[in-house]
């Protein structure tokens, strides 16, 4: 079985981003970028399935500009077999990403695609579901446990009220939640090996996918800042304030 893992390069989770003063977007120059944490979890899960002998090959793919190569190298350091870079200088939204991935799926014919549940920059939470729809495959989003047996996958999902377990025939799309696993720290020899692995490049135009979007960003604003309040001395003062000043209890 082949597993395809789409990964995204994002502003690191611990960077606090700033909205540009002209309100055209967020300042992403010269800030640390990382592999999206949910994608890291997806790569880890694919590798664990391979290490258990349930998959023969793990392929990572990213869609983006030349800087995304670094992201592919970090994914390769998990011991991934192959990496594919779908090249574009435009920042694509989930529908275009899903269309490009669907073309790649046609070509590579994986049995399982594991995406992250959400990219932590755009917070879309769409791509995996859209890809599943375009392929007419079943989906298991927000996975906290994945079990692969022969031709089916059983997935426990984190839902609002608790957990839900679904089973579906392969091929399928799974999207990772935070508690699916704890990604490994890649070992130095693997990092070195990852630097030398060839990356297959595909121009997005060659997949016949349009990069145009029907969404136009009009402006980006900073949210209203919350003012820090006061420190209270003790519980009595806190209760008094909550009762008489804030009137919330």
């Amino acid at each position: 079985m082949k597993i395809l893992v789409p990964v995204k390069r994002v502003v690191d989770a611990y960077v606090s981003v700033r909205v540009k003063s002209d309100n055209t977007g967020v300042d992403t120059d010269n800030v640390k970028k990382s592999l999206n944490p949910f994608c890291e979890i997806a790569v880890e899960e694919a590798m664990r399935l391979k290490e258990k002998g349930l998959a023969d090959e793990v392929i990572v793919v990213t869609i983006g500009d030349k800087d995304c190569e670094t992201t592919l190298r970090s994914a390769l350091a998990f011991g991934v077999d192959r990496a594919i870079h779908i090249k574009t200088d435009n920042v694509l939204r989930p529908l275009a990403i899903a269309k490009a991935l669907a073309k790649l799926v046609e070509k590579e014919a994986p049995q399982l695609v594991i995406t992250g549940k959400q990219s932590i920059d755009a917070d879309n939470n769409q791509t995996g579901q859209m890809l599943a729809a375009l392929l007419n495959w079943p989906q298991a989003t927000f996975a906290s446990e994945v079990t692969v047996e022969a031709d089916k996958v059983t997935v426990t999902r984190e839902i609002d009220g608790g957990l839900e377990t679904l089973t579906m025939a392969l091929p399928a799309v799974v999207t990772s939640d935070l508690r699916l696993n704890e990604p490994r720290y890649p070992k130095l020899p693997n990092i070195m090996k990852a630097k030398k692995k060839p990356i297959e490049a595909i121009e997005i135009a060659d997949l016949g996918v349009s990069t145009a979007s029907t969404l136009a960003v009009q402006r980006v604003d900073e949210p209203a800042e919350r003012q820090a309040g006061i420190k209270v001395a003790d519980i009595n003062e806190l209760i008094e304030k909550l009762k008489n000043e804030a009137r919330v209890i």
Binding site: V17, L95, N125, G162, I235, I239, V248
Partner: protein, 308 residues
């Protein structure tokens, strides 16, 4: 303009998140609620009572029982043909279903809408709520998930919509529900609670969480948690508040033993009043707290419970 809101329910009750989505929908046009379920007449009836709902479409079939996205998608896609907007609340149900619908409609979905600027322009948060993006959509049909905390819940009474039966789409049958483990609690639902008491890593253990729960029960509050507390197994997954958990905005949010990482703040900083109890006076949570108490939670939380 006509708006189709997909109802979220458990075949007996309409989920409160749908009421918030209906309020957003009302800003856009005439609201029709689609109830797809199995043995779900009471949900269709409840939806018809909601103030501002013009019509309810009710499709009842065994394969809609579990809210499986693969089963609901063909029905929603075909029903969407005669609407200008398709909307769900941005709950795990809506987030799971709607992108599937959106892709088949060949529309770019806008996630987590917090404000309707005009018929084609919407605001939604990105970067864990650190930026608000205003986007204009030129898609003929618009597909939106609604951040429930940004819109009041519609009144559950006062409406008198007609309920029209809708033929079910064919069963797809690719996905089977094995089981659900739902958190049972007498406390209010986290997403809709007026008061939330949340605990973090500082609480230290699952046993210690009883301190948080005792205070919550005194206040009639829901219990929430940081990711660190969930990861450490103190409480179930669905207690997580934050960028990648639940987004809440109660009248009162009490954060106990939580440092205030941006991912946590993303889920609670729109609360009306925030209280932070933390022994580290430099904890970032104090920067958003209306009332901060620098203290050991093991001393002051039981004291607070006792004093109320």
């Amino acid at each position: 303009m006509s708006v189709l809101v997909i109802a979220e329910h458990d075949n007996s009750e309409l989920k409160s998140a749908t009421l918030n989505a209906i309020t957003a929908a009302k800003e856009l046009g005439d609201v029709t609620v689609l109830v797809a379920g199995s043995g779900s007449q009471s949900v269709a009836d409840a939806a018809a009572q909601v103030a501002g709902v013009s019509a309810v479409l009710h499709s009842d079939a065994a394969h809609y029982e579990n809210g499986i996205a693969e089963e609901l998608t063909p029905l929603v896609v075909s029903t969407a043909a005669s609407f200008d907007y398709v909307i769900t609340a941005a709950t795990t149900f809506g987030k799971n279903l709607l992108p599937r619908v959106s892709a088949l409609l060949d529309v770019e979905q806008i996630s987590d809408v917090t404000s309707v600027v005009s018929a084609d322009t919407f605001v939604h948060p990105v970067y864990a709520g650190n930026a608000l993006e205003t986007v204009q959509s030129s898609d003929a049909k618009k597909v939106l998930t609604i951040r429930t905390t940004a819109f009041e819940a519609a009144e559950t009474t006062g409406g008198s919509a007609s309920v029209e039966a809708l033929a079910a789409s064919d069963a797809v049958g690719t996905v089977t529900l094995v089981g659900r483990e739902l958190t049972v609690s007498n406390r209010p639902e986290l997403g809709a609670a007026e008061v939330i008491v949340s605990g973090g890593r500082g609480v230290g253990s699952a046993e210690n969480f009883a301190i948080i729960e005792a205070l919550a029960d005194k206040l009639g509050a829901a219990v929430g948690a940081s990711r660190a507390a969930v990861d450490a197994g103190y409480v179930p997954n669905d207690y997580q508040v934050g960028q990648t958990g639940k987004v809440v905005a109660p009248s009162l949010y009490i954060a106990i033993g939580i440092s205030g990482a941006i991912q946590h703040l993303a889920g609670m900083k729109d609360s009306k009043v925030i209280v932070a109890i933390n022994k580290d006076e430099d904890a970032p949570i104090f920067q958003v707290a209306d009332y901060g108490l620098v203290a050991d939670l093991f001393d002051v939380v039981p004291e607070m419970t006792g004093a109320l």
